[in-house]
């Protein structure tokens, strides 16, 4: 018998094997739609067109956003997945163009794939109005012959930040119609623009607004975002404007269950829990077995593939189409999967964050998160993949043993409270700002007193003039480099400029997929097992110079896990402070990473079954780091092994916990420990931004120093293990006996009340 979602929920609740390990179970009550009347000023032609596409009234949040945007207020809409956000910007834009056909709008989507999806809806609306509104996509794929027409006649130009940055702004004189008449700038998926990408975008927007000012336009911003703590602040940081926030969601929804699930401890001594992948596979299997359309999110490519193969080999599910979905798949493959999810032909999908963005796959019935996605925001976004307008849906977070997962499931109030993270951007990152200042000067000369984000604009411009990039004449700085185009040197998404192409030689050679250069040494080094679409491939050769990896399909019982040797050296300290309970510092560093060995790990039980060397060049990066120094004499007091173990253990928990404050992934931060740092001359623990120039993470961590240490020591002392485990300071097999105590000694060092505890 097949159970419906509500029955499955009942069964889960009454099953001790499941319910005993639930740390929190919240139910969002079903909600009726809240409608509002059509805002004034929407023409009857548009109202008819809306009726034509099946919309005869608006949800309250749509009406509110449309009203504000039409009144020229900058708006950011923060409502749930599938709440009809696109109408919030399409309506005012189309209305404006109907009123005055010379009006223009610019739509920015973070990726090309996404813009295609959202355009379908716009086209339907425009088609129904029968107005002559031309919508064009302008990106790397736009044919040369079409570009001229887009520039002259496009009412709505849809593009992405990269194209705006290299293709449009430096050629703004070709776009005079657009810039003279620009009424609206739409930024969809605002929350996506955080970290390094957001910092770049903020500067691209500064350039854009400078150009608008030159042509005498002052466009209104309409942004939409997933739930984050600071939509207003993020929008403000990205655009320099003040926003009205629309966040009262008027769309209807069915009952939704959100469950935090912590798999059972199977080895208390080692702190080992039952595998999150196994538990997720079991839960997903149950949902799929009852024919609920289910999506499981895994945190890495490897986890995705392992989970997928477990589901595909589950005999009870035979005959149901279950697919993978992640970054390495080719675009056509992905489009097919999306389409089959919408039609319901695919019943289950195992995905990475590649599916996190607003790519339309329809609404599913169950979501399993295999491991905490890293941020509260993306957890809610992924949960949002399930939930139709009526009927029950379920989202389950299956915690892994990592400290962050354990913190989340054991502090459900933190998760369910208002404490979603802030989107952090650092538009004034010197590296980012300076590179865009050059682009801006290329686009329009600067005059004394012009401000580009920061009050120090003049002195930065003088600096560029001193180095010969600009020429100052009178009170104006002009671009003065021969034969140069500065935008082409600036990538908005550092770290993924070049990709390594994976070529499958099993039969006729074909391109299997690609990985970015930074990840390649870990994933496709020679002799790695690369997983793609549930199949295993052996990497026969990684040609580093050509950026090609040659693979052949194999069937083996193991996967591979690569290690890197990372070294750090401090180039400059921006701030340091010895008055805190452990010394803290923040500054510019050089990080070198050398892939060393890989381990072969058996799929069935995670046993280590062999290893090999990786022979690849070292990679180098300049970035910013936050560091913690221990007293120099600590070694004399507690001995070198204790200091080493304490440092390692503390760095493990801090590295895992820091993302809690930063809305970033643990992979966005690196960590290094030094028993005696050549720079600080003391035992030192570093956390660094894994982006050239830094994104601002380390600066925030420097400020949060005490808070960070408190949370870390709380987590470690509350952990139920004896000697340390992956959920707190790391496994004792690596750190040695007593590591947990040593790490606590480090984390509590100098804390007043904590010292008293440690003394008992």
């Amino acid at each position: 018998m097949v159970l419906n979602p509500a029955q499955i929920v009942d069964r889960l609740a009454s099953s001790p094997r499941f319910a005993d390990h639930v740390t929190a179970w919240r139910v969002a009550e079903p909600r009726d739609a809240d409608y509002a009347s059509m805002p004034e000023g929407i023409s009857s032609r548009l109202i008819d067109a809306l009726a034509g596409v099946g919309i005869d009234r608006l949800y309250s949040h749509q009406a509110e956003a449309v009203q504000k945007a039409m009144a020229g207020e900058d708006v950011v809409v923060v409502t749930g997945t599938a709440s009809g956000k696109t109408l919030c910007y399409n309506l005012p834009v189309v209305q404006k163009i109907i009123e005055s056909p010379e009006s223009r709008a610019l739509y920015l989507f973070p990726t090309k794939a996404l813009s295609q999806d959202q355009l379908d809806e716009l086209h339907a609306l425009v088609g129904a109005t029968d107005a002559d509104i031309k919508t064009f996509t302008y990106d790397g794929d736009t044919p040369r012959q079409v570009r001229r027409a887009v520039r002259r006649a496009g009412h709505i130009v849809v593009t992405n930040p990269d194209m705006l940055h290299t293709g449009i702004l430096p050629h703004h004189t070709n776009w005079t119609r657009l810039f003279e008449n620009l009424q609206f700038i739409v930024i969809d998926e605002l929350h996506y623009y955080r970290g390094v990408f957001g910092s770049h975008l903020a500067n691209v927007i500064r350039r854009l607004l400078r150009i608008c000012e030159f042509y005498g336009s002052r466009p209104t911003f309409i942004c939409s975002s997933a739930t984050i703590a600071n939509p207003n602040e993020l929008a403000q940081r990205l655009t320099g404007r003040t926003f009205a926030v629309v966040d009262r969601d008027g769309s209807p929804r069915g009952e939704r269950h959100y469950i935090l699930y912590n798999p059972a401890v199977v080895n208390r001594e080692l702190g080992l829990r039952s595998s999150a992948i196994d538990e997720s596979a079991e839960l997903a299997g149950m949902f799929l077995g009852n024919d609920l359309q289910t999506i499981a999110f895994a945190r890495s490519r490897v986890d995705t593939e392992v989970l997928l193969s477990k589901l595909q080999s589950n005999k009870a599910l035979s005959g149901r189409r279950i697919s993978g979905y992640r970054g390495g798949y080719l675009p056509a493959e992905r489009r097919e999967i999306e389409e089959s999810l919408r039609t319901g032909e695919i019943r289950g999908v195992v995905a990475t964050n590649a599916l996190e963005l607003g790519i339309d796959i329809g609404q599913l019935e169950a979501v399993i998160l295999c491991g905490y996605p890293g941020t509260v925001t993306s957890t809610w976004q992924r949960f949002g993949r399930a939930g139709r307008r009526t009927g029950t849906s379920v989202g389950i977070l299956v915690a892994s043993s990592s400290p962050l997962d354990q913190y989340i499931v054991n502090n459900p109030d933190y998760f369910f409270g208002a404490a979603v993270e802030s989107g952090l951007v650092n538009p004034d990152n010197l590296y980012v700002l300076n590179s865009h200042l050059k682009c801006a000067a290329f686009e329009l000369p600067f005059e004394e007193g012009d401000r580009f984000g920061v009050s120090t604009t003049d002195s930065m411009l003088n600096h560029l003039a001193d180095s010969g990039v600009l020429n100052k004449v009178g009170n104006t700085w002009h671009w003065s480099v021969a034969d140069d185009y500065p935008a082409q040197h600036v990538s908005l998404r550092t770290g993924s400029v070049n990709n390594v192409v994976i070529i499958d030689k099993t039969k006729k050679p074909r391109v299997l997929g690609q990985v970015d250069t930074f990840a390649a040494p870990m994933l496709v080094h020679t002799d790695a097992i690369y997983l793609h679409a549930g199949r295993q491939y052996h990497v026969d050769e990684l040609d580093w110079d050509e950026k090609k990896a040659y693979v052949q399909e194999v069937s083996v019982e193991h996967y591979t896990d690569a290690s890197m040797s990372v070294k750090i050296s401090v180039l400059d300290d921006f701030a340091s402070d010895d008055s805190t309970r452990l010394g803290r510092g923040w500054g510019e560093v050089r990080v070198t990473a050398l892939p060393t060995i890989f381990k072969k790990i058996r799929l069935s039980n995670q046993d280590n079954v062999g290893w090999g060397k990786i022979d690849l060049p070292q990679q180098e990066m300049h970035t910013t780091a936050y560091w913690i120094t221990l007293p120099v004499d600590l070694e004399a007091r507690i001995g070198r092994p204790a200091v080493e173990a304490g440092l390692l253990g503390a760095s493990h928990v801090l590295h895992q916990l820091a993302p809690l404050f930063l809305m970033c992934d643990p992979l966005d931060l690196g960590r290094v420990t030094e028993i005696r740092s050549p720079f600080t001359k003391a035992p030192t623990l570093y956390l660094y931004d894994v982006y050239p120039g830094g994104v601002g993470f380390s600066e925030v961590l420097y400020r949060l120093h005490d808070d960070l240490l408190d949370r870390a020591s709380e987590l470690v002392s509350a952990c139920s293990c004896d000697q340390g485990c992956p959920s707190c300071v790391g496994p004792p097999s690596i750190l040695g006996v007593g590591a947990k105590d040593h790490a606590l000694t480090v984390l509590r060092f100098g804390a007043k009340q904590a010292q008293a505890v440690a003394g008992t």
Partner: protein, 420 residues
């Protein structure tokens, strides 16, 4: 003020090396220099003053633009810019803008120069005023470079772009069409310098290489030393003088190609191609035929012959087309393959001679295999396979071509008699 003073007192100052004047307008000041070349002087055997008397008919053909038919050289501006780079975008400046025009029978090159970037607006305003006087403009690569750049500089200076009132003739585009097949065109031969030496028999002494121009300007901005800059002014004048002569040469070639031996046969092929595109099929066929009777490089000869055969096919002149295909089919390579296909079509649909059609079809298949098909999508494996099978069927259905009924024309042929 002190900076200007220093410049003026320097022995290498602009005013000494490039005689001209500082002029002022409502937007500021700029530097202007006029270089007069007497109309009786010549370059490439062409007297400048004779260019003044040209009509527009032939230029309109070379430019494929009927607006040029009324071309009046007395109201034509030759435009050439010296810039801070080729990278494009709004950060590329045109710091020296040369406008050549006839004044009486003499040629004047008027050069507008910004002594630093603050003079751009004054300069663009002056350039705009100058350009308003003309109805036509001529450039070398202006369509993709100089004109868009000038438009950008006008916009950046907030001055109305004074460009669209002039019909434009781009010499580079025209020369590409005409001499693109000439042996000298390879390896940069179509650059202005290459055309000067190949067509005008002219070589420059002590010329500044173009790639150095941006750096020279920035050096001047930094040092005020006009030593090298003077050579850039001279370079700009040279470019414009060559453009005037080249215009005369183009006119001459378009006018005299029918006289055997007057024009490089490769250029005649280029002109044939222009005429073909313009729909003047008979004249185009004459041009190809004339060129083929002279000495052409084998690749160009093949292409010209195929072009000629297709024109004749369009004109239903089978007696003219078939021998060309038959000759080419004897050879190898792409044109042989194309010819075999055409012969296969011809013998199937025109002569109903399926045996010979089949023979050529097999030949095409063999040649195609050697070429590594498909090229151009014109001859796909499938098409030949399909044709061969159909011909086999037809051969067995009508074994005797003499008694066979003529077949209806296939899709490939839509006009002409079924059988001669």
């Amino acid at each position: 003020m002190s900076e200007r003073f220093r410049r003026q007192s320097s022995p290498t100052s602009l005013e000494i090396l490039v005689p001209g004047h500082v002029i002022a307008n409502e937007h500021g000041s700029l530097y202007r220099a006029d270089v007069v070349t007497p109309g009786r002087e010549r370059r490439g055997g062409i007297r400048y003053a004779d260019v003044l008397d040209l009509g527009g008919d032939r230029i309109a053909v070379a430019g494929r633009n009927p607006e040029l038919r009324d071309l009046d050289l007395g109201k034509t501006a030759f435009v050439d810019t010296e810039t801070t780079g080729l990278a494009g975008g709004t950060g590329t400046y045109a710091f020296l803008i040369g406008i050549g025009f006839f004044d009486g029978r003499d040629l004047i090159v008027r050069q507008f120069f910004m002594r630093d970037q603050s003079e751009e607006k004054a300069m663009m305003s002056e350039v705009g005023r100058e350009l308003r006087e003309f109805d036509w403009s001529v450039s070398f690569n202006g369509l993709s470079f100089d004109l868009p750049l000038l438009r950008t500089r006008f916009i950046m200076s907030r001055i109305r772009p004074e460009l669209d009132h002039m019909a434009h003739f781009d010499l580079l585009n025209a020369c590409r069409r005409i001499w693109g097949a000439a042996p000298f065109a390879a390896d940069g031969g179509l650059r202005l310098g290459g055309l000067e030496s190949s067509l005008l028999d002219h070589s420059r002494e002590l010329d500044v290489p173009s790639w150095r121009v941006p750096e020279i300007y920035f050096d001047f901005l930094r040092s005020g030393d006009a030593g090298e800059l003077a050579a850039v002014f001279a370079h700009n004048v040279e470019d414009i003088l060559s453009m005037v002569s080249l215009l005369g040469h183009v006119d001459h070639v378009v006018g005299s190609w029918p006289d055997r031996g007057m024009v490089d046969p490769h250029a005649v092929v280029g002109i044939g191609r222009i005429l073909e595109l313009e729909g003047q099929l008979e004249r185009a066929a004459d041009a190809y035929a004339l060129a083929l009777s002279e000495s052409l490089s084998p690749e160009v000869a093949g292409r010209a012959a195929i072009s000629l055969s297709f024109i004749r096919k369009r004109l239903a002149d089978w007696n003219g087309a078939v021998p060309i295909w038959q000759e080419l089919a004897e050879g190898e390579g792409r044109w042989a393959a194309v010819s075999c296909v055409e012969l296969a079509k011809y013998f199937e649909h025109r002569e109903a001679d399926f045996g010979r059609a089949f023979f050529y079809c097999l030949g095409a298949r063999e040649l195609a295999a050697d070429l590594g098909f498909p090229f151009g999508g014109q001859l796909s494996d499938w098409g030949l396979e399909h044709r061969a099978n159909r011909l086999k069927r037809r051969m067995s259905a009508a074994p005797d071509p003499e008694t066979a009924e003529p077949v209806r024309p296939g899709a490939e042929l839509s006009s002409g008699p079924l059988r001669r």
